[in-house]
Amino acid sequence: MSATDLGLPLMGGLDAIPTTDQKQSAKDYTSDQEIRWCPGCGDYAVLAAVRGFLPELGLRRENVVFISGIGCSSRFPYYLNTYGMHSIHGRAPTIATGLAVTRPDLSVFVVTGDGDALSIGGNHLIHAIRRNVNLTILLFNNRIYGLTKGQYSPTSEVGKITKSTPRGSLDHPFNPLSLVLGAEASFVARAIDADRAQLTDVLRKATAHRGTSFVEIYQDCPIFNDGAFDVIRRGGDNAKQRIIPLRHGEPIRFGVNNEYGVVLGEGGFGLRIAPVAGVGEDAVLVHDTERPDPSIAFALSRLSDHDLTHTITGVFRCVRRPTYDDGARLQIREAKATESADLAALLRGRDTWTVDA
């Protein structure tokens, strides 16, 4: 079977979704449900950012849908006054896929966590991303199982002492961004729960992208993994030395005085960090989210150390690629245009015979 040119339209992530002229506020997006996260949970900050950012999209609220799996973060849909489904562990991408394919007029979000998306739902995550279904996936990564009360997760560091690993965990953790880039993700970004401005900026870009937008959000779980991200969450010079913010079209630089830069690695392989003074400004890599080849984005994902010595944030990659749902709808449209939908003819088929009375 040969590949065919699907002739897909190049659209934005929110095209075909009905908009409203009515002014909306965060309050419009707030449901009447009492929030049941622990005090101080990073989920509150993300919820506030999402409630704050949704009104600016100007979409009709009834055309926004949040689908989640199971876990602390998956309670998210209950707190938004949109359509929503709190489904089953790991399966949210599948449900969102069926919805997005059949309903181009909806803006579909998936809210998931590190256990939900990367452990039990790993298969669904990579396949939704591979298909590039028009979804925005928000993965709240707190590097722990919260709802089940504190077992290590697929993003916990090796040696983590938890209830299920009294002598330390043995599993090597996933780097979620490396994983999704390997799965051909067309939009990849990372944000930190505490940095509302940057989180909002990433959310904006993610929803504008047509295809699967994958956003990893470092989220603090003060109950079971307290302070896991403190070194980058608390701001100040400590954070500046660690966080490498990405801006499309700009040299990738960071540091208290912007004194470090990201440069190509030895022999052209990978990336490394160097003092700009030592390598010269021209050697610093200029960030391009639209590079068709994902190698640089992948190398950037590898620059983020699990111990947060360096953490890259912002949009890693944003490229155009045909989406599964647009393709599926196009095939239906073409079939409708070229074939008859005569049920009687279908049921009769081509070989009939008649029995007379």
């Binding site: 009709r60 009834e62 896929t97 919805l99 298969n123 049920l343 049921l347 009939t352």
Partner: protein, 641 residues
């Protein structure tokens, strides 16, 4: 079969059939029914050959039923017993119920096919063997010390030893075809020969071959040449002294076609989409023998049918649930272990109370089991195989053509009651075929989605309550995203009755568990009809699913002995028809034959406190009519169990 073949009239000389217009210069024997089994290597094209002969029989106006039987391996080692693939078809001048217990004619394309099938051929039966394949090497492979075609060991049968490969190749001598391709057309030679023997029309097959090989006209012509060579071989050689004629059956007036269960299910789904006005979304993962439903539906995009080949079984049902949430008619199809993988999401669909059709084409289990064989062993899983109290309706078609009606019926229940429905087909229905009286589209029941459009809170608050139920059906409203003012959140957590918000209240949970059960229990299903022609039978045979034909044929045989026996067949396994309890009590003995270890019997015993007798077989093959007849007679004598 039930009606003997004794009614034979001999017509000397040429015969001209009423609508086949095939003239023969041989003695013609009339038969009321014939069972042919084509058997060969998996690579020999036996399924296609059988299918073509069936089409020819159907086009001629016979009633017919077919039973393919093939290995799970696509190409098991050539010439071995595990690699044998067969296709049995039964065609008749009257209405028949099964594909026949045993063949009258066995076509064996190689020694392995002969060895695997000869035990089923009754003495006096006709064997047509492809002698080319009976080489020393092939004979040794399957443990024949000598060539059975020559050593007299087959003297109980009428043996026609035909060098099909040589003859087919000879017919193709003047074509450009490679020797290999020419040899491969031997199945068409066999088909041509059998069509000649049984006066089958040839145009349909020739047209079919031209269409199938539209991009390879050379192959089309070669196959047609081989097909004609087989026909001519019968006509010109003296080997075959007689030919047979089976007159058209007297079926109800109407337009007929031949259809398999899987195709009928697919058409039922398309029709349900059209009659409900909903887009159809199928989420499915390939698995034998359910995949053909996916294949078929993927061809019908013009009917607003989207097919999604998911990454796994779970995603297949998950995507269908997502589509249903969005207001589409969500369907998922599977078989074998696939239904186990879907259990979790099926439970979610029960909690969400969204319409969903789950098709399980049952096959031999446990685990991977027997992928290409049939069984009825998923009934209890369909009933109970989810965590928690998780009831859902179950519908089971009784024949390949009934798959169409069952799909529509299951959709009606799913949409009316906002519930997932499991449709239990099985391997024999999936691949078996029979003539189908094509229904008029207008006669198909309309299905009303009845989407919610306005807030419904009984307290007049103007809110939308997603679990506020309809008084009659107990169904909740189906409010799809995009409907302003009805924004709501649903999920797998227990919900407060009415309002639908999360609730851990003990009384509410007890209430909701009972409500979900009451909703399923209250589904309207037609009363069960009993076939009890004498009206005084003391034995009721109660079946479900694909055993209908064999049970019916067995009952006919019993009645032919002058004995009274009643038959009833369940389409609705959950809820059961309301009149079932009374019915069961009307008979001294209730016998339940099943292709499992007595799953329906278990349900009936616990539900109605009746000691139903259970007859079971789990061989991967359908019941035979004669086998059941004997069981029924034993039951009538009181000898059973």
């Amino acid at each position: 079969m039930t009606i003997s073949d004794s009614a034979i009239t001999v017509q000397p000389g040429a015969a001209k059939s009423s609508n086949g217009a095939i003239e023969h210069s041989r003695e013609v024997l009339k038969r009321s029914c014939v069972v042919i089994r084509f058997a060969g290597d998996s690579g020999d094209g036996m399924q296609l050959t059988g299918d073509r002969f069936s089409s020819a029989a159907a086009a001629f106006g016979n009633d017919l039923a077919t039973m393919p039987n093939f290995p799970a391996e696509i190409r098991a080692p050539a010439g071995t017993l595990p690699g044998v693939s067969s296709f049995q078809l039964h065609f008749a001048d009257h209405d028949i119920l099964t594909a026949g217990d045993q063949p009258d004619v066995l076509v064996a394309m190689n020694p392995a096919a002969l060895k695997a099938n000869i035990a089923d051929l009754p003495p006096g039966g006709i064997l047509v063997a492809n002698s080319d394949e009976f080489t020393k090497r092939n004979l040794t492979k399957v443990g024949y010390p000598a060539n059975p075609l020559e050593d007299g060991s087959l003297c109980a049968y009428t043996v026609h030893s035909v060098a099909m490969e040589t003859l087919a190749r000879g017919a193709l001598e003047h074509t450009e075809l490679s020797k290999k391709d020419a040899s491969r057309s031997k199945n068409m030679f066999a088909l041509g020969l059998l069509c000649w023997m049984y006066h089958r029309p040839t145009e349909g097959t020739e047209r079919y071959l031209r269409e199938k090989f539209v991009r390879r006209p050379d192959l089309a012509e070669a196959n047609i040449l081989a097909f004609r060579a087989g026909w001519n071989y019968g006509e010109t050689t003296e080997t075959f002294a007689v030919t047979y004629e089976v007159s058209p059956a007297k079926l109800d007036a109407g337009t007929y076609r031949q259809i398999t269960g899987n195709t009928a299910l697919a058409y039922g789904i398309v029709a349900a989409g059209q009659r409900s006005g909903l887009p159809v979304f199928l989420g499915s993962y390939p698995i034998t023998p359910a995949s053909d439903i996916l294949h078929e539906l993927s061809k019908h995009k013009a009917f607003n049918v989207t097919t999604f080949q998911a990454e796994d079984e779970i995603s297949g049902i998950g995507a269908a649930i997502g589509a249903a949430f969005g207001g589409a008619f969500g369907v998922t199809t599977t078989s074998g272990p696939g239904i186990s993988l879907k259990s979790e999401a099926a439970g979610l669909a029960v909690a969400l109370e969204l319409p969903l059709l789950i098709i399980d084409v049952q096959r031999g289990g446990p685990s991977t089991g027997l992928p290409t064989k049939t069984e009825q062993s998923d009934l209890l899983q369909a009933m109970f195989g989810r965590n928690g109290e998780c009831p859902l309706p179950i519908v089971a078609p009784r024949s390949p053509t009934d798959c169409f009606d069952a799909a529509l019926d299951a959709t009606r229940i799913a949409i009316t009651y906002r519930t997932p429905v499991i449709l239990l087909s099985d391997g024999s229905l999936a691949n078996g075929s029979e003539p189908w009286k094509v229904p008029a589209v207008e006669s198909l029941p309309p299905i009303e989605p009845g989407f919610a459009t306005a807030p419904n809170a009984p307290d007049g608050s103007g809110e939308f309550w997603p679990y506020q139920r309809d008084d009659d059906t107990l169904a909740r409203p189906w409010a799809v995203p995009g409907t302003a003012g009805l924004e709501h959140r649903i999920g797998g957590l227990e919900k407060a009755d009415g309002r639908g918000s999360i609730s851990y209240d003990p009384d509410n949970h007890d209430h909701m568990v009972r409500l979900r059960q009451a909703k399923v229990d209250g589904i309207t299903v037609p009363g069960l009809e009993v076939d009890d022609p004498d009206g005084h039978a003391e034995l009721l045979v109660l079946g479900w699913g694909s055993t209908f034909g064999a049970i019916g044929a067995g009952c006919r045989q019993v009645r032919a002995h002058g004995l009274a026996i009643a038959q009833a067949h369940l389409r609705h396994l959950n809820p059961l028809p309301a009149n079932l309890a009374d019915l069961l009590h009307n008979y001294r003995t209730v016998l339940v034959p099943e292709m499992n270890l007595g799953q329906l019997a278990l349900l009936l015993r616990s539900r109605f406190l009746i000691d139903v007798k259970s007859y079971t077989k789990v061989s991967g093959l359908p019941f035979k009519a004669e086998e059941l007849r004997n069981v029924f007679i034993d039951a009538l004598k009181g000898d059973l169990l």
